[in-house]
């Protein structure tokens, strides 16, 4: 524990050397591994039954956001990562200012705190399906599963990038690519047998039903399906040749994400009628109905284990990415107290992870044991996505500024028509933020203005007030010796 608790610049020389070496000699990742990590943080089959309800229109609901949000996010971050190491905090710091760089990475980090309990509650309910479905209603069981899985994730993340890179990329293969392929092949077999598709597949069903605001909410909110494409850029320095390899990994990740989202959802909509793909009965019920048709119901528990592994793989990437970015800017600028800047012997931001874990634990216990918390937990999904949109707004503005102010800075990849892409991405992000204030189904008949107030306050506190407080109350001695020397040099 001793070496884990000491900042690198205050350790004995040999230990400090070792810690710095761990940071400098970042473990090597291949571009393929990074592509799989990126895909694991964005896509899984969890959403497939939800989108299968929309039938052929799910293609539209994924393709339009891909054009206006996925493409700008992926291509712009590919250019930025091919020119600057460090991820979103570095891009925004260079393009706009260091405090805004801190704001960007804070928003990317803070939103995940509220995300883990709902992700792990889903994992707990899927695990209950395997062990004993009645467990899914137990608060104690849910709390234990969330705690065990979350802290195991923290422990794995604290062992270094390589450990989680392997687990997350294999988790994607086992938990998403293999079962996704099985779903699509079985769906094609179903059609090849001469069965009519359960969901109409005519041209008129390509567009979703237009009902005004509700449809707009559905379409615009789907932009966020691709959130996180840029997150793993923080590991770009682990690539052998970041300038060339990062763009390659982004192109592969983009293709995989689109295929994973669209094809399995379509396959389910071919086989399982929409009245059996209930939005409320849960993901496993849809898979159960799918496999029941093919007389291979025993595949359902296997699919459940696969879904769990994909969810945990995604969680690992989210644990490691934003916290690493937060550490890097905090160490160079002294934005966080020294305690949070400490590294363990693997060069990992263990104290940030543990502090985040304590907060997550409290929230998760509230979710598991207090019905009033769990019943309104969906509100956090809106608040956290609103907070995340701040990252994208800053990223697109920073990209345009960097192209203008540092046109000759070497970049391994230059995206064509960057300003057009950034403007499209910026408008899409702004639209998603505005739509985030429209009450969804879960708010029932409540007052629109009270909903706007709740979301606005959440966004203000989590996304603006807390990072402002860190910047306002930071102390000069929070900046490490090493960072001061670097700044001086």
């Amino acid at each position: 524990m001793a070496s884990m608790d000491v900042p690198a610049d205050r350790q004995p020389p040999a230990a400090a050397e070792k810690t710095r070496a761990a940071v400098v000699d970042a473990p090597r990742l291949t571009w393929l591994t990074l592509a799989l990590m990126t895909t694991a943080s964005v896509a899984s089959l969890r959403a497939a039954p939800t989108m299968a309800v929309y039938g052929l229109a799910c293609v539209f609901l994924y393709l339009v956001p891909a054009i206006v949000f996925l493409l700008p996010t992926a291509l712009v971050s590919a250019e930025l990562a091919s020119g600057w190491n460090g991820g979103v905090y570095r891009w925004v710091s260079e393009g706009l200012s260091k405090p805004l760089g801190f704001l960007a990475v804070w928003c990317q980090f803070a939103m995940t705190i509220f995300y883990y309990p709902s992700l792990l509650a889903f994992v707990a309910s899927t695990l209950a399906y395997i062990i004993d479905p009645s467990l899914a209603s137990s608060g104690l069981y849910t709390a234990i599963v969330i705690m065990v899985l979350y802290w195991t994730g923290v422990w794995v993340s604290s062992r270094g990038t390589k450990a989680l890179a392997g687990l997350s990329s294999w988790g994607l293969v086992i938990g998403t690519l293999v079962p996704g392929t099985i779903l699509v092949v079985l769906g094609m077999v179903f059609l090849a047998q001469g069965n009519p598709s359960a969901a109409p597949m005519t041209a008129s069903h390509l567009l979703p039903q237009w009902t005004g605001l509700a449809s707009l909410v559905l379409i615009v909110n789907n932009f966020l399906s691709y959130s996180g494409m840029e997150m793993n850029a923080v590991h770009v320095s682990s690539l052998k040749n970041p300038a060339k390899e990062y763009p390659k990994s982004m192109f592969l990740a983009m293709a995989l994400v689109l295929l994973i989202f669209i094809l399995p959802a379509l396959a389910i909509s071919w086989v399982v009628p929409a009245d059996q793909t209930s939005l409320t009965a849960g993901v496993m019920q849809a898979f159960d109905s799918f496999f029941a048709y093919f007389h291979i119901g025993w595949m359902t528990p296997i699919a459940a284990v696969m879904l769990i592994s994909a969810s945990l793989a995604g969680m690992l990437t989210w644990l490691a990415g934003p916290s690493k970015g937060l550490l890097e800017i905090s160490r160079s600028e002294g934005y966080l107290p020294p305690f949070l800047q400490r590294l363990n012997r693997f060069g990992v931001q263990q104290n940030i992870l543990v502090t985040q874990g304590v907060v997550t634990t409290v929230i998760a216990l509230g979710y598991a044991f207090i019905p009033n918390v769990s019943s309104v937990y969906w509100i956090f999904s809106t608040i956290t996505t609103q907070v995340y949109l701040i990252v994208y707004l800053l990223m697109f503005v920073a990209a345009m500024r960097l192209r203008k102010n540092q046109p000759d800075h070497p970049r391994g990849y230059r995206v064509p028509a960057l300003n057009v892409l950034c403007t499209v991405g910026l408008l899409a992000s702004a639209a998603a933020m505005v739509i985030g204030f429209v009450p969804p189904s879960q708010f029932g008949g409540g007052s629109v203005w009270s909903y706007v107030l709740i979301i606005g306050c959440g966004l203000g506190i989590l996304g603006l007030l807390i990072p402002w407080a860190f910047l306002r109350f930071r102390k000069p001695d929070w900046q490490t010796e090493a960072a001061r020397e670097e700044a001086g040099a």
Binding site: S41, V42, A47, G166, D275, G282, Q285, P440, S441
Partner: protein
């Protein structure tokens, strides 16, 4: 992926993960119960198929419904109105995101009420609690049929 990964110092972490996942696969397969086709299961499947036709859907294959729901409705009837279960499906009435981009939307009325029909037929004693949860929702017809 690096061919040397499994030779790394983290090999035992990977092995541990594989063992745990395989253990859950075995538990899942052992616990998996094949639903037997009984007269009661067939009657209930026919009722559900009739309800689907009445609602304007194509008639589902009743054998498939029997295998998925049996006589007791399977997981659909596991405390459908409970706080944690409701919390989960409320979070899942969302866009198409699988991770952090997940955000609630205005759900489709019929898709949200589909489960109520299953509960009505397979476990009617649990319908009231579930309906209470559903009645709190503000929905719209967002699925083209």
């Amino acid at each position: 992926m690096s061919p040397t990964r499994f030779a790394s110092e983290h090999k035992w972490i990977y092995l541990g993960a594989i063992v745990v996942l395989l253990a859950f696969v075995v538990i899942g397969l052992v616990n998996y119960e094949t639903v037997k086709k009984t007269n009661e299961a067939t009657d209930k499947a026919n009722q559900l198929a009739d309800a689907a036709v009445d609602a304007g859907y194509p008639r589902p294959d009743t054998d498939t419904v029997v295998r998925a729901l049996g006589t007791d409705g399977g997981i659909v009837c596991e405390n459908p109105g409970g706080a944690l279960k409701s919390a989960l499906w409320k979070i899942n009435v969302s866009n198409g995101a699988a991770f952090v981009g997940q955000r609630p939307v205005v759900g489709d009325t019929r898709a949200l009420r589909a489960e109520a029909k299953i509960i009505e037929i397979y476990c009617p004693q649990k319908l009231d609690d579930f309906r209470d949860r559903l009645d709190d929702l503000d929905t719209d017809d967002t699925v083209r049929r």
